[in-house]
Symmetry: C2
Subunit: 146 residues, 2 copies
């Protein structure tokens, strides 16, 4: 089950006639070890710590491929770098981001699924994807403030 990402990526690469290089798989394997959300820099640090030597450029290129193959999903919050998240396929969820501490909480959004469909129908638009972010002060930070 956990390994299915590797298989999926493998299939994707073959299909697109791209090469199945050790770098690409090492990167995906490292991503699997990281919990949920991560940033490119996190990944690069993790790789360095594990003495897996891959260039920054290759990391970014592989992230693009993983996004293209729907193994990874790319998000952007109010910062100016991206966040990535594994396995978004069946979890088209949204985010609750704390403006104080940056904690990211995921929540499912079946309602949003319908909203997207409705809005797209209304504007005769073919839905591709959506991003929904709610910003607020999380419970912990609110306690601290008191």
């Amino acid at each position: 089950m956990q390994n299915s990402f590797v298989q999926e990526f493998d299939r994707f690469l073959q299909e697109k006639k791209l090469r199945r290089t050790p770098e690409r798989f090492k990167i995906l394997t490292e991503i699997k070890k990281i919990d949920r959300h991560f940033e490119a820099d996190d990944l690069i640090l993790h790789l360095q710590r594990e003495k897996i030597i891959v260039s920054r450029a290759t990391v970014y290129r592989t992230l693009s491929l993983l996004e293209e193959s729907n193994i990874l999903r790319k998000f952007r919050f109010d910062e100016n770098h991206f966040h990535y998240e594994l396995h978004p396929k069946n979890s088209h969820h949204a985010h609750l981001v704390c403006v104080k501490c940056g904690t990211i909480i995921e929540f499912d959004d079946q309602e949003l699924e319908e909203l997207q469909a409705r809005i797209c129908r209304e504007y005769r638009c073919l839905p591709v994807k959506r991003t929904v972010e709610i910003y607020g002060v999380c419970a912990k930070c609110r306690k601290k403030e008191n």
Copy 2:
């Protein structure tokens, strides 16, 4: 009515003991002339065309102030620059962005208002703001493709 932005900004500056400089008001006045959405570069170009000489830094600094005073709202779509929009106060709307041509359609979202409130209640979070973007292929682009 249209002038209320200037008054509002004026009040904000006084309240915060910030200075009411000509640059700041020239920038706001120019923004009012631009239709709805704009990017920092658009604004800088507009100012240049009108021979209003204000430095890039001041433009960015003023945009921040206008955001802080809730006169302007800042958005980010999939690109890596921001979009700005005047008068978001009573129009907490969401966006439908065409992935082909970049057209941005606004839509109101009373449902989203409730969703935000509900999610925040659930996580004991104090809501601050939200961004909702739906990406798709717009009607025009779909026609072209056929």
